[in-house]
């Protein structure tokens, strides 16, 4: 090629791509300390940063009955006093080395994570040791964090998006299923938590054998292992016991429910049902199927609701992948007076997905997107650490990330149809809408074929 520019009038022609360059998910290495604590280390040298994530098998799904919310409370309490330092002093130690630590629990794990300049890694890891091995659970902070959680739940009542998500989970799962209530617990369950319950949960779940330390960034495998052995080598504890609890029980019924918000200018719409556990063998075909249905901007649901009808700013669908069957959910917010029409279009798109094969064009859009975007997802050390944490949490095959793109590309239109027929269930859809009942109850009732239930933000039923 010469460096000259051809001056043309009018637009330049559409280009064709050049040869793609190879990409490999960062190589990682595993080690196990003599006490059973595991390490996963991915050396990545781009910037002088290291991300650390401690993954502990202490998520909400292993809480005992009557203790909903203790996993989240316990994880947060790690930062509120440890090894003789109070919460303010601990915060100060982290921030003085230029980092802030996050500790939280979701459904399947508790995680303690941070990103720090590589030169500060030993200091940061020593602090993480204090949190994990010597938390103190001060009474005052237990009370404060409980109050903050209750304030958060109160906020949720006035926040249509969060309220819709919460009410959708309640509609999908049986009242006895752990997934029916928020991971952080409901107001009643949080009020019942005590310091002793949190300490008990910690003692039972936070063990070397149930903990994996993930390192990603400018650190060698040997250096990470040496630091971990020095700081965690003498941490002793038995294997955590298993808890048997129905987390994802879901009745096979169809439900339509309005959560009343009088005079709402918009309806927050949630449609779906219980999905699949993360390790289900249909993971890839279901992921591609969802991309076509509502996983991409150019998906059927978004193009229909947003670009064809202008009903909404955006409409998306997702399978939430948990160890047990997390929800499959379509979500959008539409102008109140088109709520019925929008839900009708959503149901139509679900039906269409199940009744005929998608076109090859739609398939390749989804697969080439998922394939191509893969390296873009893992540009940062913290994103790679999260990916490796998921490998640990879900006990995925060692080559999962190496094989991901090939597996995605091998999905066919027949696979997608089969996934839709197996894993989309029109007969057990839950339709939950936060909005103005005066405007939306009747059209939703027509679609549902029966009067819709109307509830308040607390979930209490409102007489028709």
């Amino acid at each position: 090629m010469t460096g000259t520019t051809t001056q043309t009038s009018g637009p330049t022609p559409r280009p064709t791509p050049t040869e793609p360059r190879n990409y490999h998910f960062p190589a990682f290495h595993r080690r196990t300390l003599p006490n059973g604590m595991r390490l996963v280390v991915a050396p990545v040298t781009k910037l002088p940063l290291v991300s650390i994530t401690a993954v502990i098998d202490a998520g909400a799904s292993v809480e005992r009955e009557g203790q909903d919310g203790v996993a989240a409370l316990t994880a947060q309490l790690l930062l509120e006093g440890a090894a003789g330092l109070d919460g303010a002093a601990l915060t100060d130690r982290f921030e003085r080395i230029g980092t802030s630590v996050d500790a939280h629990a979701d459904w399947d794990a508790a995680t303690v994570s941070l990103t720090v300049l590589a030169e500060r890694l030993p200091d940061a890891l020593a602090l993480v040791r204090d949190l994990l091995r010597a938390p103190e659970f001060p009474e005052r902070e237990v009370a404060r964090l409980k109050d903050e959680r209750l304030a958060e739940l109160l906020q949720l009542r006035a926040e249509p998006r969060g309220l819709a998500d919460e009410q959708f989970s309640r509609a999908v799962y049986a009242p006895t299923a752990r997934y029916a209530a928020p991971a952080g617990g409901s107001a009643a369950s949080v009020r019942a938590l005590t310091r002793d319950v949190a300490r008990g949960f910690y003692a039972e779940r936070y063990r070397p054998t149930s903990t994996t330390l993930v390192f990603v960034g400018e650190v060698s495998v040997d250096r990470a292992a040496e630091l971990a052995l020095e700081l965690f080598g003498d941490w002793q504890g038995d294997v955590a016991s298993t808890v048997e609890r129905a987390v994802d029980a879901s009745p096979l019924t169809r439900v339509a429910r309005v959560v009343a918000k009088a005079d709402a200018s918009q309806s927050e719409v949630r449609v779906g049902h219980a999905g699949l556990p993360r390790r289900h063998p249909d993971y890839f075909e279901t992921t591609v199927m969802n991309a076509v249905l509502g996983g991409l901007f150019s998906s059927r649901i978004n193009l229909n609701l947003r670009e064809a009808h202008g009903y909404t700013y955006g409409a998306f669908s997702a399978f939430e992948w948990r160890r047990a069957a997390g929800p499959f959910m379509i979500q959008t917010a539409v102008k109140s007076d088109v709520t019925g029409a929008a839900v009708r279009e959503i149901l139509h798109e679900i039906e269409r997905m199940r009744s005929q094969e998608i076109s090859t064009d739609e398939l390749t859009l989804a697969t080439s997107y998922l394939d191509g975007v893969f390296p873009i997802r893992y540009e940062t050390t913290s994103a790679i650490a999260t990916a490796l944490s998921n490998l640990v949490i879900h006990d995925l095959p060692e080559h999962f990330y190496d094989d991901y793109r090939v597996r995605v590309r091998s999905v066919t239109t027949e696979d997608v149809l089969r996934a839709a027929q197996r894993h989309l269930h029109p007969d057990r859809l839950r339709i939950v809408v936060v909005g103005d009942p005066a405007v939306i109850a009747t059209p939703l009732g027509e679609i549902h074929g029966a009067p819709v239930e109307t509830v308040t933000a607390d979930g209490a039923e409102v007489a028709a």
Binding site: T5, R14, Q155, A158, L296, E379
Partner: protein, 437 residues
């Protein structure tokens, strides 16, 4: 941390910045147009943002909805955003698709108008009106986005009016407005193009010249009115907003030095001492110790003309009243102003900010966006490499001088959200009783 930077300018005025990094086969293309809501004319609030939506509706060689589809099919991510003084468009794609991203951006910069139709405008107007409902009207506290600038900038100032726009102004937007706005502002000499990631410099330059070279220069844009403002608000300002919320929330804003000035970095460090992360004063005092607030943070708008805004954003606990919240936040500001800050507090803030600056350089898209930012506002993308040093120059004395000059009661604007109805008030009461134990 220094990133490599090259620049060149096309004959038509397009300023181009390049930053190579071959660690992953990814490249980011990022285009800033130096136009935002400040450039809107009266009766057309929200137009710059509506126009941004129209840029995804196709151009001479790109069909409706095809822009998103082509990038996603190539395995890329994309979006755009509108701000008071700029609008940006960006794609991150596998590096072998660099030319596609450049071609798409050039095609809409050069040849947007043939693709514009009334029907597309009507649909995007609906979409934007739904975006307004979603982000503001049906969202607790959502109106702060337009109330805070309206409170802090005088009505005649270009930063005063709503970025998302009023429903009636959006209704009034026409195809003629599209044409006029496009011709005036979407020209190569009013834009900056940045490319970051895995590419060959000579090849990238050839591609940029090929696709953007033929686009003619614009005729110049009308100047903005005088943006200059006094350094302070000239007295305390206060607006109380009853809203569908359960907890009071205070936005306390100060006029502060414009982005890029030495004193901007001082103001930013002062804001971090007050509200950056859990070791900050507001979190330590109001959330942890006094338990008046549930959350506390601070931020700046990063405006380069007239005045920047430094904002404290604090949400009350259920058992605290709005009066208590407002008093407590003001007490912390008074205390900082009267007693000053310590060297440790400055060091904590600067160290945290430095890590954030490096973390933000990890992704190609963020790099490209930063290059465009410094090129657009200051004509010098290499300023991205000087930010950490400018923060390190901030001293306690500078922070204290800033606080004395800018944190006084003559420079405080309070935007206070309070629960509107009795139902939420009684819910507060109920929880306060529980909280009291």
């Amino acid at each position: 941390m220094q990133i490599p930077i090259d620049t060149f300018t096309l004959d038509n005025g397009l300023f181009v910045t390049l930053s190579e990094d071959h660690t992953a086969p990814i490249v980011a293309v990022n285009l800033w147009y130096h136009v935002g809501s400040a450039n809107e004319r009266a009766g057309r609030t929200g137009f710059a943002h509506l126009f941004e939506h129209m840029l995804f509706q196709g151009s001479a060689s790109v069909g409706a909805n095809e822009h998103f589809e082509l990038v996603q099919r190539a395995g890329g991510t994309l979006n755009g955003s509108t701000w008071l003084d700029r609008t940006n468009y960006y794609e991150t794609v596998p590096s072998n698709q660099l030319e596609l991203a450049l071609w798409l951006e050039a095609n809409r910069m050069g040849y947007l108008l043939p693709a514009m139709t009334q029907q597309k405008l009507d649909t995007q107007r609906d979409v934007v009106q739904n975006e307004r409902r979603w982000s503001m009207d049906n969202q607790p506290y959502g109106s702060w986005w337009e109330r805070l600038p309206a409170l802090c900038f005088p009505p005649s100032h270009p930063f005063h009016h709503s970025l998302i726009g009023s429903m009636s102004d959006l209704d009034a937007a026409s195809l003629e407005d599209i044409e006029q706005f496009f011709t005036t502002y979407y020209t190569p000499d009013n834009a900056v193009l940045s490319i970051a990631g895995d590419f060959d410099r000579a090849e990238a330059r050839r591609l940029v010249e090929r696709h953007f070279g033929p686009i003619p220069r614009g005729a110049g844009k009308p100047p903005l009115p005088d943006m200059t403002l006094p350094p302070t608000l000239g007295g305390p300002l206060r607006e109380v907003v009853p809203d569908d919320v359960v907890l009071p929330r205070l936005f306390l804003a100060f006029r502060s030095p414009v982005f890029g000035s030495d004193d901007y970095y001082t103001a930013s460090v002062c804001g971090a001492i007050l509200g950056l992360k859990k070791g900050s004063r507001l979190h330590r005092r109001l959330v942890r110790e006094r338990q008046i607030a549930a959350e506390a943070q601070s931020f700046t708008y990063d405006l380069t003309k007239g005045s920047d805004l430094l904002v404290l954003d604090v949400t009350a606990r259920p058992e605290s009243s709005s009066e208590e919240l407002e008093r407590a936040v003001n007490e912390e500001v008074d205390r900082l102003r009267d007693e000053g800050v310590t060297a440790e507090e400055v060091a904590r803030a600067v160290t945290l900010i430095e890590t954030e600056l490096i973390v933000a350089l990890q992704s190609a898209g963020d790099r490209a966006d930063k290059l465009s930012l410094f090129a657009t506002y200051f004509g010098d993308p290499s300023l991205v490499n000087t930010q950490a040093a400018r923060y390190r120059e901030v001293t306690p004395e500078r922070v204290n001088a800033f606080a004395r000059a800018r944190l006084g009661t003559d420079n405080r604007a309070s935007l206070l959200y309070v629960p509107r109805d009795t139902e939420t008030t009684s819910a507060n009461q109920e929880l306060a009783e529980v909280g009291a134990r």
